[in-house]
């Protein structure tokens, strides 16, 4: 049987083939060729698109260059969501590669956060990690870490170094043996259909009767609409990292193995494709 550790690797090394094209209205000096890239699912758009930026800046006039942003089929892509999440939410049913349009003009202030530098991403990432740990361990673990450990987490993500990241991150995944899991499961549920960006609540991995909660339990509790009624037709897909775990999967296991580097379990609920 394959080891659970392999899941971590699979999750980490998930890649989305992407084709970047420059928005047609952007003014260029010469024709901008599309740029193909394998994007790490667990990373952030602005963190891994230096090459894209360089590529398109070459064909543009210096004065036209302002902050880069990305859009897919009219939706501006939030850089502060993990790439895999964006893909699953918006484009999981479309054909690969994922076609992303690159913009330099008219930054959608309403939809997107500015990302002037990588420090911003780091700050966002670390705050996610801390928030997750607050849920999991009342922030005990993250607070006990040294600054360099925090840095190592971030550098691991930035440099796509699995070992480097997990050497620290495993401490965040531990819990005392006498308990069955974390205090609360840090999760976020994203739905395309609602206005709310995502749902998050306090949810314990273990029920009061010591039963391990499953993914189904979670959804029933926080997002009943996502779960198909017993007899009803399945309307939604529950996706994590591009896969659909069965609802019986224990939440704690999911949490330990399918979390994003920011320590959150990002669950997306998307309508069942009509096929």
């Amino acid at each position: 049987m394959t080891d659970d550790k392999d899941v971590l690797r699979d999750v980490w090394f998930g890649r989305i083939p992407t084709c970047f094209t420059l928005y047609q209205d952007e003014i260029t000096e010469r024709e901008a060729e599309p740029y193909y890239l394998l994007l790490p699912r667990v990373s952030y758009l602005t963190l891994v698109t230096d090459k894209v930026k360089k590529h398109f800046e070459k064909v543009m006039r210096q004065e036209d260059i302002s902050e880069i942003w990305f859009e897919y089929e009219g939706t501006p892509l939030k850089w502060h969501y993990p790439i895999g999440l964006l893909f699953d939410l918006l484009a999981s049913s479309s054909a690969l590669p994922w076609n992303i349009t690159v913009h330099f003009k008219s930054f959608p202030e309403k939809d997107l956060l500015h990302c002037p530098s990588k420090d911003v991403i780091e700050a966002h990432f670390m705050s996610c990690v801390k928030e997750a740990d607050a849920l999991k361990h009342k922030s005990q673990v993250i607070n006990e870490m040294q600054k360099k450990d925090h840095k190592q987490l971030w550098m691991g993500l930035q440099n796509d170094r699995f070992d480097q990241f997990w050497a620290i991150n495993r401490k965040l995944m531990e819990y005392p043996a006498e308990e069955n899991g974390f205090r609360y499961i840090p999760f976020r549920i994203y739905q395309t259909t609602t206005e709310r960006p995502f749902i998050r609540q306090l949810f314990r991995p273990v029920a009061t009767d010591d039963q391990l909660h499953t993914l189904g339990d979670l959804l029933k509790e926080v997002c009943p609409s996502a779960v198909a009624p017993e007899d009803g037709e399945k309307k939604n897909q529950v996706r994590i990292h591009g896969i659909e775990p069965v609802l019986e999967t224990p939440l704690q296991w999911l949490r330990e193995h399918l979390s994003h580097p920011d320590n959150f379990l990002h669950i997306r609920i998307i309508p069942q494709p009509a096929d």
């Binding site: 699979d10 999750v11 891994v48 070992d163 010591d210 499953t214 896969i243």
Partner: protein, 1448 residues
């Protein structure tokens, strides 16, 4: 940790047991017996039944309780009739006991009770102190009370021999009635209370139990002679008491408390090892005068009591020195009785509710515990519910409500095993309507409603309260049932119930019971149910990767792999001046190479003379990372091939343990990554342990044998596994067993990591807690002086008065520390009585002066004495190991490879010797169940020390007295072989039951030459070449002789036949006659060849004078040839002069040599490998005064390479060929033996040996550090024999033990394969031109093990041999297992199928020749010439048939 059991009696007198691992009471079924009281110890339980009789129930075990009865037959010589039974009137009886004082005719020896049965009939014991006697087992003396010798001398006037017979205790796992006294006066009144204890004070080897009882009249009785070999004891003896006793309690150690009618307690004083009955009573007053003591219970250091007002009291300050304690403390609760069990844990029965309570929180520091917790485990009364609850729980944790009712559904399946496995369909289907749940194994129906139905249906089960499941139900429903089915208890005994602080018990509530089981099941691998979702996730991930990545791999990666640097501060051992730890900065740089392979460099920056410098290590060159936890520092050593050669590993130390394991895990991960070693080791992996108990594993590359990809052994990468073992044994099918220092057997679970490897370096499942216990010994030395007697004041020249075993180190009780930081003391110092050589009653051993032999009794000439103190220390770690309970092992051996069975076929043969010396064979071992199922006990005449199974089911064993045994007829179908005793040569023996039929088969010539060529028939069907060429040529010089035949079948023929052509030497060969072989079989002893030839006396290396005291090179090692793997140890470097392999008087077993200080611990063994320690091994080894030798005979070569470690730490190698053998120090390279001809007899002018590697004999380590190996080369030239040379092999590690292997290509042994590679690496000239000089005359060589027929008659078969067939070639090269080897044959032809067929002549003897030949034949199957189906070699009984050997 193995489960143990709590015993209890309910109000109806039924006895129940509750396992520490279980959740349900199990009824102890027996023939309608009802009990009043029980008292349990680990191996047995005593009880008083309602018929007022005492019963003992001895637990079933795979090891029988056997007891030897013996009688001596005495004879005196008289001039008329020689030796006869007519003795002088003043003599002893003709049949007597050993002292001669008691008449003991054979038929007068009766079984002590009906619970015993005879195992066999009387037979003569021919083993005299480990040596075989001559015919009939007689030993001779001048007169009767005298020293007996095995040789008859001119003045031998009397002789005697010993008859032995075994009886076996048969009433296991059943209540055996203790026979009441014959004399009714003795025991007038029935017993009212009984208590078992005292096993700690007379632990091994005595193993006594103290059984105390109180009779109705208030008298106290003691049962004499209760021990594990005599579970019933012999008689009751009265112990006077000052008052009328009511109740008695005996602790596991030396506490004995009695409660009296008057309310006081009596405490027995003076109980010790030599006087388990104690000497006097003292009275302890009750806590309050108005309420006397009703009940007491004693533990190791605690006493609990109940007074008449039902209050519970704890006695403070109780210990061995003050058994009365100091004062009473009142505890909470009202109890009817309390019982103190192992580890001072306490159980009680509540006064009001009669419920069973366990005292929670009892630890060594808090003996009184914290709270009473009720045990509400369910009771299994009809057996059908055994597995239902657990299956419910395993299902329940993932299915929530749905399955919760399952426990009530009267699951029909008996056990977990029968429950349907992972069945995804079931998961879906179970959502059916609420039908009768009884039919369903378990359902997801909410059973809250129907649950009452089934329970009421269980009419045969009135109190069938599955309490743990009840607790899940709403209270209202529960009450009516639980009221009348609540178990009411009368008595409880925890004397056999081991509960430790960390033990998780599932007894208490259903609630916590459920949680406990869930914790276990939350391991994703255990519950079958998880497989569905888990499998889906794995599958989907794979699909996702496929979908999203497969067609886009040419895309650019978004993130370029960059360099990652981890830095930190460590300490580094500066190996030059100033030779100390210096603070360094270290940095690990990890980068990705162009080929995508990660690589890493470790930089160590240090300052020397104000100058910044650094050293660096490429992690892809690292061969081993060895944690070194001594010197109170958390350090580790980093080895690379280069540094191994320089003997200078990089040693780094971290400030904390956590820091060290972080670094170690990270470095290990990097190394593994760069070597692409991942996950669980392959079945072919090579396992080893260090002398510190660390476990390492090396992965052989798949193309090991490809000659172009030789891997030098110093470049083997060793990866650490978690856990702690003393011995590890692996076979090529992935079955790995180990033995801890505390003799616990462990089996490898298939995980990796553990120990200090956490996180990614460790697998999530299959890692379990492992603990080990080791003893630390110190010696108290005293010298006698005329005035004061023995005092601790020695002469100025004497050793320290508190010292280690050698006397060189001072070791006081206070200053002695556990071996390393991992260990913690778990006991106090105590006197050790189980010292080799025996002790007196206080543990002293006497000697005339200090470095001398110690004996256990004082004589006039003794001026010094010493005694050994022991303290136990314990280590707790984790690793991929599971305990194989319950039998502790001393040695284990796994068949290297089951021939021809890869991934299938029969079970894997695994043999072991228990720590008590029983030989055991494990049944049911296979890849899927490496732990096997049960032990099969193999009866022996004496305790054994070591066992070894080689290829082709050759089982050899060494007894504790040094005799060697071979086990016949072991095969997959008969895993334990046949027969069980040693047979003397020559004479027909009395028929020992159904064991062996009398027969004899000694050739007179062989006898005349002193050869005991013994066999016992029954070597049945697959007689292997190893046995076949048993008869050495040297043994019968001159004419061939016909064998003498024994009386009845089966028989062996000894056939001496002069080979007509070319070979002047006669042969002796064993051949089974075509008879039925099913009946017989035996241990046979082919060894003991006291031959006249002197062993080679090798000159000692002048550079190392200390080796002079090492293994005496004059000693001979003599034994027969065969496939033999033996482990011999002598604690005093005493090698026996003649006879068996070795005289091992004491300290047998795989003796611990290097307790603490010794660095170098050789273990020379059957198949490769040696192991390691940090850099300082060479320094420590001079101190070794003990010797361990392992002898190995492998493969069909007649020469037996063997190895020994001298006291000076130097290695000796030796060879034994056809009966002679010799030692020479290995230090100077294998010096040429005068008698060895292998190389010396090469035709003059012939080139030095070169050519293809044939095999490797062994590796050994010289005291200087370098590792040497002996090579055997197969030359291409037909006329030249394969040669053997020695070569230096740089090794990454200092060997701890070395295993020896030889070409054994008959079976593709992985060890041999490995050796081949190691060899090859040495052979390769460019590997290290300085050290391997194949071009120059070798420094030494082995006696070439090729049959001398070939050596002496190059040209091979002539004459008749060739006439056997259409010979086409004299020699054929074939490939066996990938290695080219030369085959010498008498003749050859190519069969129609393309195989080479070898005709070995017309006689079977010739056939044996070819098997003795250097050709390690692969599957030496033999076929009749006409192409009929291949037959087993030796089933071919017609001597005139052709034999063919297929080289595949």
């Amino acid at each position: 940790m193995p489960s143990s059991e709590l015993w209890a009696v309910d109000l109806f007198g039924r006895v129940f047991t509750l396992s520490t691992a279980g959740q349900q009471w199990e009824l102890c079924r027996d023939a309608q017996l009802e009990f009043k009281r029980v008292s349990a110890a680990a191996p047995c339980c005593w009880g008083i039944a309602c018929d007022n009789q005492v019963y003992v129930r001895v637990g079933a075990s795979d090891v029988p309780i056997r007891c030897r009865e013996e009688a001596y037959e005495n004879q005196r010589w008289n001039p008329m009739g020689g030796f006869c039974e007519a003795l002088l009137p003043s003599d002893r009886w003709p049949w007597s006991d050993v002292s001669g004082l008691q008449h003991r005719p054979l038929d007068g020896v009766a079984l002590p009770s009906p619970h015993w049965e005879w195992e066999s009939d009387w037979y003569v014991d021919e083993n005299f102190g480990g040596e075989p006697t001559e015919k009939g087992g007689w030993t001779y003396a001048i007169d009767f009370p005298h020293t007996y010798t095995r040789d008859k001398k001119w003045n031998s006037c009397v002789r005697r021999r010993r008859w032995t017979r075994y009886r076996r205790y048969k009433s296991r796992d059943t209540w055996a009635k203790i026979p009441s006294e014959d004399d009714p006066q003795q025991l007038p009144d029935p017993f009212s209370d009984l208590s078992v204890g005292g096993w700690e004070i007379t632990d091994e080897p005595v193993g006594r139990l103290s059984v105390w009882a109180v009779s109705l009249q208030g008298k106290v009785w003691y049962r004499e002679d209760v021990s594990h070999s005599n579970p019933e004891g012999s008689s009751w003896s009265l112990v006077d008491t000052p008052g009328e006793a009511v109740q008695i309690s005996c602790g596991p150690h030396d506490l004995l408390w009695v409660s009296l009618w008057e309310g006081q307690a009596l405490v027995r004083e003076g109980i010790n090892r030599n006087n388990p009955k104690g000497s006097s009573w003292s009275v302890v007053e009750p806590p309050t005068s108005e309420n006397g003591i009703l009940h007491v219970s004693a533990g190791v250091g605690v006493v609990w009591a109940i007074t008449k007002d039902r209050k519970v009291w704890f006695r403070r300050g109780v210990n061995s020195h003050n058994p009365c304690g100091t004062s009473w403390i009142e505890m909470v609760g009202e109890m009817m009785m309390v019982n103190v069990g192992l580890n001072d844990q306490v159980w009680g029965i509540g006064w009001t509710d009669r419920a069973l309570y366990f005292r929670h929180g009892v630890t060594q520091s808090e003996l009184s515990g914290k709270t009473w917790k009720a045990i509400v485990a369910g009771r299994e009364c009809d057996g059908s519910r055994a597995g239902s609850l657990s299956s419910l729980l395993s299902a329940g944790c993932f299915f929530g409500d749905e399955v919760r009712g399952g426990g009530e559904s009267r699951v029909p399946s008996d056990s977990e095993a029968e429950r349907p496995g992972p069945d995804p369909e079931r998961d879906v289907e179970v959502a059916g309507p609420a039908s009768t749940p009884a039919e369903l194994p378990w359902t997801n129906i909410d059973l809250k409603e129907p649950k009452k139905g089934p329970r009421h249906a269980a009419a045969d089960f009135p109190e069938g309260t599955n309490l743990s499941s009840l607790a899940l139900l709403p209270l209202g429903l529960e009450e009516p049932d639980s009221a009348d089915c609540h178990a009411l208890w009368a008595w409880v005994s925890g004397g056999g119930c081991a509960v430790e602080a960390h033990t998780t018990l599932k007894w208490f509530t259903a609630h916590s019971g459920l949680r406990a089981s869930m914790q276990m099941l939350s391991l994703p691998i255990t519950p079958a149910q998880t497989a569905a979702w888990r499998k889906q996730i794995f599958q989907q991930l794979t699909e996702r990767t496929q979908r999203e990545l497969e067609n886009f791999r040419h895309y650019e990666q978004a993130v370029e792999q960059s360099v990652w640097v981890k830095t930190g501060a460590l300490q580094w051992w500066c190996d030059w001046k100033p030779h100390k730890w210096v603070d360094v900065r270290v940095a690990l740089e990890q980068f990705t190479g162009h080929d995508g392979v990660r690589d890493s460099i470790l930089f160590i920056y240090y300052m020397i003379h104000e100058e910044k410098k650094y050293i660096h290590v490429f992690l892809n060159e690292v061969t081993a990372l060895v944690p070194v936890l001594n010197e109170a520092k958390h350090s580790f050593a980093v080895y690379t091939p280069e540094r191994t050669r320089q003997r200078w590993p990089v040693r780094l130390a971290a400030a904390t343990e956590q820091d060290m394991s972080d670094w170690l895990a990270l470095l290990n991960l990097c190394c593994c990554e760069s070597r692409r070693v991942h996950g669980r080791p392959s079945p072919q992996a090579i396992w080893s342990v260090t002398c510190k108990g660390d476990i390492f594993v090396s992965e052989p590359s798949p193309d090991l044998e490809a000659p172009e990809r030789w891997l030098p052994c110093d470049q083997m990468f060793w990866r650490q596994m978690g856990g702690h073992l003393r011995v590890v044994e692996a076979n090529s099918r992935g079955v790995v067993w180990g033995i801890g220092y505390d003799h616990t057997a462990w089996v490898y679970t298939g995980g990796y990591g553990g120990g200090c490897f956490q996180g990614l370096a460790s697998s999530t499942s299959n890692i379990y807690t492992q603990s080990d216990v080791k003893c630390v010994y110190i010696y108290e030395n005293q010298r006698w002086n005329p005035v004061t007697g023995y005092t601790s004041r020695g002469l100025p020249t004497d050793r320290y008065m508190w010292s280690d075993a050698t006397g060189l180190q001072e070791c006081t009780k206070a200053s002695t520390k556990p071996p390393s930081l991992q260990w913690a003391w778990v006991s106090d110092w105590f006197v050790d009585f189980s010292v080799p050589g025996g002790t007196d009653q206080e543990g002293w051993q006497y000697a005339s002066d200090f470095p001398a032999l110690y004996h256990g009794h004082k004589t006039m000439k003794d001026f010094v004495r010493r005694r050994r103190w022991t303290r136990k220390c314990k280590l707790v770690t984790s690793g991929p190991w599971l305990e194989v309970a319950p039998i502790a092992l001393g040695d284990v051996s796994i068949i290297p490879e089951t021939p021809g069975a890869h991934g299938s076929g029969p079970g894997i043969a695994l043999w072991a010797v228990s720590d008590k010396g029983d030989v055991l064979c494990r049944l049911g071992v296979c890849e899927l169940n490496p732990a096997g199922s049960s032990w099969l006990h193999v009866g022996t005449d004496q305790p054994f020390a070591s066992v070894s199974i080689g290829g082709c089911y050759q089982v050899w064993a060494v007894a504790r007295d040094g005799s060697a045994f071979y086990r016949g007829s072991v095969s997959p179908s008969k895993p334990a072989g046949l027969g069980h005793r040693q047979q003397s040569p020559g004479e027909p023996q009395p028929e020992p039951g159904n064991c062996v039929s009398p027969h004899g088969c000694a050739a007179p010539g062989a006898q005349g030459a002193g050869l005991g060529l013994w066999h016992r028939g029954g070597l049945g069907s697959p007689v292997r070449p190893g046995q076949c060429h048993q008869g050495p040529q040297e043994l019968i010089p001159g004419d061939g002789r016909q064998a003498q035949r024994g009386a009845g079948p089966p028989q062996w023929a000894l056939e001496g036949g002069r080979c007509p052509a070319g070979d002047p030497q006669s042969r002796l060969l064993l051949r089974p006659l075509p008879l039925t072989w099913s009946r017989t079989g035996a241990w046979s002893l082919p060894g003991a060849l006291p031959l006249g030839k002197r062993a080679h006396e090798g000159p000692l290396s002048p550079g190392h004078p200390q080796t002079a005291s090492a293994l005496p090179p004059k000693e001979k090692w003599l034994w027969g040839s065969g496939w033999l793997c033996l482990d011999l140890i002598s604690s005093q470097s005493k090698i026996r002069k003649r006879g068996f392999l070795s005289k091992v008087k004491e300290g047998v077993g795989r003796l611990e040599i290097s307790a603490g200080e010794g660095r170098l611990l050789p273990r020379v063994g059957r198949a490769l490998l040696g192991w390691s320690e940090d850099g300082g091994a060479a320094r420590g080894c001079e101190k070794l005064s003990k010797c361990r030798v392992r002898v190995t005979v492998v493969g069909p070569q007649p020469a037996l390479p063997l190895m020994g470690l001298g006291a000076g730490g130097s290695f000796y190698i030796g060879s034994c060929r056809r009966g002679w053998g010799g030692w020479r120090p290995a230090e100077r390279g294998l010096e040429a033996s005068a008698r060895s001809r292998a190389l010396g007899r090469h035709p003059p002018g012939s080139p030095t040996p070169s050519g293809q590697l044939l095999s490797c004999f062994f590796f050994f380590k010289s005291e200087k550090g370098p590792i040497w190996c002996s090579l055997k080369l197969a030359s291409h030239s037909r006329t030249r024999c394969p040669g053997v040379i020695g070569a230096h092999v740089p090794s990454p590690l200092i060997l701890r033990w070395i295993e020896l292997t030889a070409s054994f290509p008959g079976v593709p042994v992985r060890r041999a394969r490995l050796c081949t590679v190691l060899w090859c690496s040495v052979c390769r000239p460019e590997a290290d031109s300085k050290e391997v000089s194949l071009g120059s005359p070798p420094e030494g060589h082995w006696r070439e093990p090729v049959a001398s027929a070939f050596a002496s008659s190059p040209g091979g078969g002539t004459g008749r041999r060739e006439s056997g067939g259409s010979a086409q070639a004299k020699q054929v090269k074939g490939r066996v297992g990938g290695a080219l080897l030369s085959v010498y044959t008498r003749g050859c032809q190519v069969s129609p199928s393309g195989h080479h067929r070898f005709f070995c002549g017309s006689a079977l003897s010739s056939c044996c020749d070819s098997l003795v030949s250097p050709c390690p034949l692969s599957r030496a199957t033999v076929s009749p010439p006409c192409g009929a189906p291949t037959a087993d070699l030796l089933s071919l009984t017609e001597p005139s048939r052709f034999l063919g050997c297929f080289i595949q």
